[in-house]
Amino acid sequence: MRKIALAISLSVFIAFLIAAALLLHPFGYPPSQMDDYIIENTQSETGANNAVTAVVFDYRGFDTLGEVTILFAAVTGVIMLFRKKKKE
């Protein structure tokens, strides 16, 4: 019973995914209104030659702050998990 339910839900899910994959824009020809601006203005606005780094640290710098925070939280969590049990 459990297995049948699993199979049905999984196949519906995969059907969704494949539908999405077939309906997307043709591979290699994405719409690019936002990215064209970044490619054109990276050098004059941020002074960096590397557009990806410019996006990571300037245009979407706040995401990077979040990412740094996540890594920080994970490290804190890992150290917390294996701390000593009792105070001596």
Binding site: F27, G28, V52, I70, L81
Partner: protein, 118 residues
């Protein structure tokens, strides 16, 4: 200008990866395998993001010594970078928890260790 791959093969690969990952997450009882399933799910989504940014014949969006012809989109690459680091952090924390559970119960089986009833 020819169309790239027929039927969007890279997107189908993404669909397959995510499908496999969900199968693993729903069917496996071993915690380590569960975490591996999550890793595959994360890779599938990352692959999806990075394929979105590809432009036929584009070069990496870096001006250093590269003639401008056509560049691939930079934003998906940045998003993927963020999401990879997030996936690493999550997996590290989850694996540590599994190690902790193993040290205390001697088992990584979800059935055995989750004695609590839903």
């Amino acid at each position: 200008m020819t169309q790239g791959a027929p039927f969007n093969v890279p997107f189908l690969a993404v669909a397959m990866l995510i499908g496999i990952a969900f199968y693993i997450i729903l069917s496996q009882r071993n915690l380590i395998k569960l975490v591996m399933g999550l890793g595959i799910l994360a890779s599938g989504v990352n692959l999806f993001l990075i394929t979105l940014g590809y432009r036929e014949g584009g070069v990496a969006p870096i001006y250093t010594n590269v003639p401008i012809e056509k560049m691939v989109l930079p934003v998906p690459q940045a998003l993927t970078l963020t999401s990879i680091v997030i996936a690493v952090a999550t997996l590290a924390l989850m694996l540590s928890m599994v190690v902790h559970i193993y040290r205390h119960t001697g088992s990584v089986d979800a059935e055995k260790s989750r004695t609590m009833k839903g």
